[in-house]
Symmetry: C2
Subunit: 152 residues, 2 copies
């Protein structure tokens, strides 16, 4: 797959990732390591909580979103996350859900501190197989500029 540089993007560009199926085992395994709370750990216990079902940690959803985003955009030498704003989880992710990420490029500008890179501002919306939104966020990332890779 072709590698993408800063110059390959313009504001308003949209991308859609492949789908990623989340299993009960993955939800429990992530939660045991990073978010050991009852509604993420055990189906039987989770049924007695307000969710009435096992749900994935929001940080698991965020991590899956990163994977899908990285694979879809495929930036040359990678994208370096600067920060994330307005990270929200409007619906829970449950076992068997298939997640897909839609990325919209919001804004692009050159980096003053790193002239080899540009700063991309983007919005990622993660949806399940019923097109319900399970996560939204805006993020800024440093992305390599093509011109500078030739002259450096």
């Amino acid at each position: 797959m072709k590698e993408r540089y800063f110059e390959d993007l313009k504001a308003g560009d949209r991308f859609k990732s492949d789908a990623y199926k989340v299993s009960e085992e993955q939800i429990v395994s992530f939660a045991r390591e990073f978010d050991p709370q009852p509604f993420h750990l055990d189906q039987t216990v989770a049924r007695q909580t307000m969710f009435k079902d096992l749900i994935a940690s929001g940080w698991h959803t965020a991590a899956i979103t990163m994977r899908l985003f990285v694979q879809t955009l495929n930036f040359a030498e990678g994208a370096i996350g600067l920060g994330v704003d307005e990270l929200r989880w409007p619906n829970a992710v449950k076992p068997g859900d298939e997640l897909q990420v839609e990325t919209e490029i919001v804004d692009l500008r050159e980096s003053r501190s790193k002239p080899s890179h540009g700063i991309v501002r983007l919005r990622n919306v993660t949806m399940n197989q019923r097109c319900e939104v399970v996560q939204t966020m805006t993020a800024s990332a440093l992305v390599l500029r093509r011109s500078k890779t030739i002259t450096r």
Copy 2:
């Protein structure tokens, strides 16, 4: 360890987590699954990037922060994340780093939609063993109220 309820907190309360050591194997394993970019995957490749070293995915730092936060606060029936703002990674996490989270309770209010719960707004600052800040964020979470657990 005593379980904590909404009523046990007041604005200005501060908590410090235990330390969590991050190994090279953990950084690479998380990145393979969720953030497959060169500076997270391979020490040799990472040395040729702008970081000159292997670094952890920001989402790995966020997940470790959640683990330390959950273990420290130990909310009864868990804390349900509503959203996160201003998630930043001012310094990279590298193999062998020991992370610790400082939590400050910023604001508390009752939940109108879920009278059994209150909404806690908090700030989490994650530091390494040199007291360098590797992550900051503010978050809102639903936390169970003690009074309501007696009467329901």
